[in-house]
């Protein structure tokens, strides 16, 4: 078991394995997203209150879910890197940040487009769900800016890991904000007492989209971590051999 982890964490092994996994993750993600989009837009029944407007859920909820999952991946990987001095874990954290920022941006923007007709406003300052999600966007930006400001990779890893872990307190705040305070935002749809509160024909496309986004995020994360690993290992023998195969004259 430990030998398996040790091998997995070895940079050249990870680099090759990730390259083989990425196409499968993209394929699974794309298939699920196509299913979820077609079924969600054209086959799911119309919502009684929101009419066709509810269909924004099929992009908004998966984006918001990934925005928070990416933060968890980043914070946990940063913690592992800090405690066990595992370089690959720091590479995972660094790779997750820009993706998390993109998905947070997407969740905020689609939420805003959804909020306009339903609540009559694009944005509400002071709303706990909206504000805590926006704070997460700034945490991602802060994390990336901090890394970019420190030239020494090992120092950047440590400093940014602390920021990532401290910022993780925001995650339960985002999640429970709609229960702890009054918010314009509606409560949970899937994870609530008594089971999901929507029709199966509405639910399955949503689950498909969430799973599809997870695969796409996985593929993107693997791709970004490969780039990180390559940069970090630029002085090693295996990278040299990878870039300049034997026989190719310098």
């Amino acid at each position: 078991m430990w030998r398996f982890f040790h091998k997995l964490a070895s940079p050249p092994h990870f680099y090759g394995l990730a390259a083989r996994m990425i196409p499968w993750f993209y394929a699974a993600g794309l298939a699920l997203v196509i299913y979820g989009t077609v079924a969600g837009l054209f086959y799911a029944p119309v919502d009684e209150e929101m009419n066709d407007g509810f269909r924004i859920i099929y992009v908004h909820v998966p984006a918001a879910y990934i925005s928070m999952s990416a933060y968890m991946v980043m914070a946990i990987a940063a913690g592992i890197g800090l405690i066990w001095r595992m370089k690959l874990a720091h590479a995972v954290a660094a790779g997750a940040a820009p993706l998390g920022a993109w998905f947070t941006f997407l969740a905020l923007l689609t939420g805003s487009i959804w909020g306009r007709p339903m609540w009559g406003t694009w944005w509400e300052w002071g709303d706990p769900r909206l504000t805590s999600e926006l704070l997460m966007l700034f945490l991602y930006f802060g994390y990336m800016a901090l890394r970019a400001a420190i030239d020494d990779t090992a120092k950047a890893d440590k400093a940014s890991a602390v920021l990532a872990m401290v910022g993780a307190v925001n995650i339960p705040i985002i999640h429970f904000s709609v229960e702890w305070w009054t918010s314009l935002h509606q409560g949970p749809t899937i994870l609530k007492e008594g089971g999901p509160g929507i029709h199966p024909d509405m639910l399955y496309p949503l689950l498909g989209m969430i799973l599809g986004f997870t695969f796409l995020f996985g593929a993107l994360l693997l791709a970004r971590v490969r780039t990180e690993v390559l940069q970090r290992e630029r002085r090693s023998r295996w990278v040299r051999n990878l870039i300049m195969p034997a026989g190719e004259a310098a």
Binding site: Y26, L41, M50, V59, T110, W114, L220, V239, I243
Partner: protein, 52 residues
């Protein structure tokens, strides 16, 4: 064509899906371009080092 109409929410629904598609595509392209940049940068650097 009627199934593409989302009532009075057409613009909201389609713009949300459109923006999502664009962001996902940008993410894929960004990851690829970054990787290619690092590869070509390393190639130049290693070549320069070994020809010294």
């Amino acid at each position: 064509m009627e199934i593409f109409m989302m009532g009075k929410y057409s613009a909201h629904v389609w713009s949300s899906f459109g923006i999502t598609a664009v962001v996902l595509i940008v993410c894929v392209i960004q990851a690829r371009v970054r990787h290619q940049n690092v590869l070509s940068d390393l190639k130049t650097r290693i070549k320069a080092m070994e020809s010294e």
